[in-house]
Amino acid sequence: MSILTRYTLSVGLLLLLAAGSVTLLSLHTQDHDLRTEALRRGHTIAKNLASDSVDAFISHDVLTLIPLAVDTAKNNSGVLYAAVVDSNGKILAHSDNTQIGKAFSLENPQALDEDPDTMQSRLGEQWVWDVSAPIVPKEKNVQLGLVHIGISREAVDQAVQKSLKRLLLASLILLLVGVAASVLMVRVLVQPIRVLSDAARRIGHGELDVQVPVHSKDELGQLSDTFNSMIGNLKQAEKVKLEKERIQGELNVAHSIQAGLLPSAPPKFANIDVAFVCSPAKELGGDFFDWFALEGGTKLGLVIADVSGKGVPAALHMANLRNMMRFISPQSSHPAEILKKVNALAWPDLKGDSFVTVGYAIFDMKSKELIYASAGHEPSLWQKHKDGSLSECRAKGMPVGIAEPEDFDTVIQETRFTLEPGDSFIMFTDGITEAMNSQEKQFGREGMAEALKASRGGAEAMVKAVVNAVKKHADGFEQSDDITLLLLKTV
């Protein structure tokens, strides 16, 4: 049921009740007043006739009494009859001559509640109130007879009927006007709600340019105002969401660009087997690795790096460093010299706010000699084929970007050793050794050593063995750092 129907029905019902009560009350009051007035008049007429009749009654002068009764009935409107009755109840005089000499009687007389001396009775088709007055001579308290006056009730009934019609008409008009006014009022009240509801529906369909007019400062006006600011907030939220989606989209593009900066396949050279893995913890990682064929393909440069921090800044530094390495690496077969040049170039960009740890190895494919330099990078590992033993390859050096070239250059050193056939050289980032499980226990170099010792097969299988061991250790715990591993195995 709509508000309009409900409200109109309620108002109609209330008005009906009110008008009904007013009508009943006023009819009752009018009926009572008119009756009282009619009876009082009847009493006065009766008293007058009684007092006029005293002398004639005493002298039994019927000829005087009859005209008195007739005149009384004729001269007073609403008086149906007037009679003079003796103490025996015999009619001495009557406005209707035929009644003279008969005993005075009434048809089914009933005393009135408000006036017990008055009887209500029927006279033919009419209701009549019989008002009586005693005939008492002056100065003698003796009742000689009675005077009866018949007052017609019709006049009162007609007046009440007339009033009832008028009141019913007034009630009907009141009801119609009231209902029409309530319909009009509800429409005026409901109109802004309809506008709001329509606007809400449009917003539901994604239209955010809707504005609700504010016409007043009342509750509905405030609601409209609140509604408008809600639309504003929704618009803002939508804008933020779109902006977020745009940024996310750009990050996804950046991620594929970054993935494209890394080698897609390991180098293919005789007598060596190289494999790698690189998975960023976020969309954009700070890890990077690369390989270069140097000196006409007789030497292989392998670089691994970890930029401090994550996300876009780390990715930008990573891209910058990758390009530097690509350009600088052909300039020297000494990894420390290359890292010095990289630091000299990167230092002005990084200035200690961010840094990069870099491990750089140059492997001579003929002599199997490996020269390694580290710019503060996680020590690499050398696994000997003959006994399966693992040794750390440490080389002194500070991370790129934290020290000016004069400091950096004095610290950095190289280490060199020769790989036997079947030996492996493993470079990785701390994302592997520092991979944590839910108890915050790190995978560690021990975990790494175990995984390597247990692994069999080529470079690819060994890399997979380490990655699986890290996954098993983390046991679903989200990795917070990028994981990169580069493995060279001599055949």
Binding site: G352, S354, E378, G397, M398, I402, D430, E434, S480
Partner: protein, 119 residues
């Protein structure tokens, strides 16, 4: 997600500002840590700063970047930052980075006086 609480106090013996992070300095906390150091040291009024790592189990590269960059700023204004109470796990990384000349480390709080006097 790690939580990091940081406190600071004045060391009576050296008059150094001792900053004590309680928690890991990692990808989630390094921005708080940097802001804390910037607020405390940004005015340039402190010349001797000790970072007490007794309650720190792990420092990620982003944490090291904050320490190294703040230490460099202090050095440029004639001050010095010293680390102390470093746990073995952190010491491993610290040693690999070879940054003792830029960011010296003392075993305990007692040793920092000597390091400040060296400068």
């Amino acid at each position: 997600m790690s939580n990091l609480e940081i406190n600071h106090s004045r060391d009576g013996a050296t008059n150094a500002m001792v900053i004590k992070p309680n928690g890991n300095l990692d990808i989630f906390t390094y921005q708080n840590f940097r802001q804390y150091l910037q607020d405390l040291l940004g005015t340039g009024s402190e010349s001797k700063v000790v970072v007490d790592l007794a309650d720190t189990a792990y420092i990620a590269s982003s944490g090291w970047a904050v320490l190294l960059s703040q230490s460099r700023m202090l050095r440029r204004s004639g001050g010095k930052m010293v680390l102390c109470n470093m746990k073995d796990e952190i010491r491993g990384v610290y040693e690999v980075m070879n940054v003792e000349t830029l960011l010296p480390c003392s075993a305990g709080l007692d040793g920092v006086k000597k390091i400040f006097e060296e400068a």
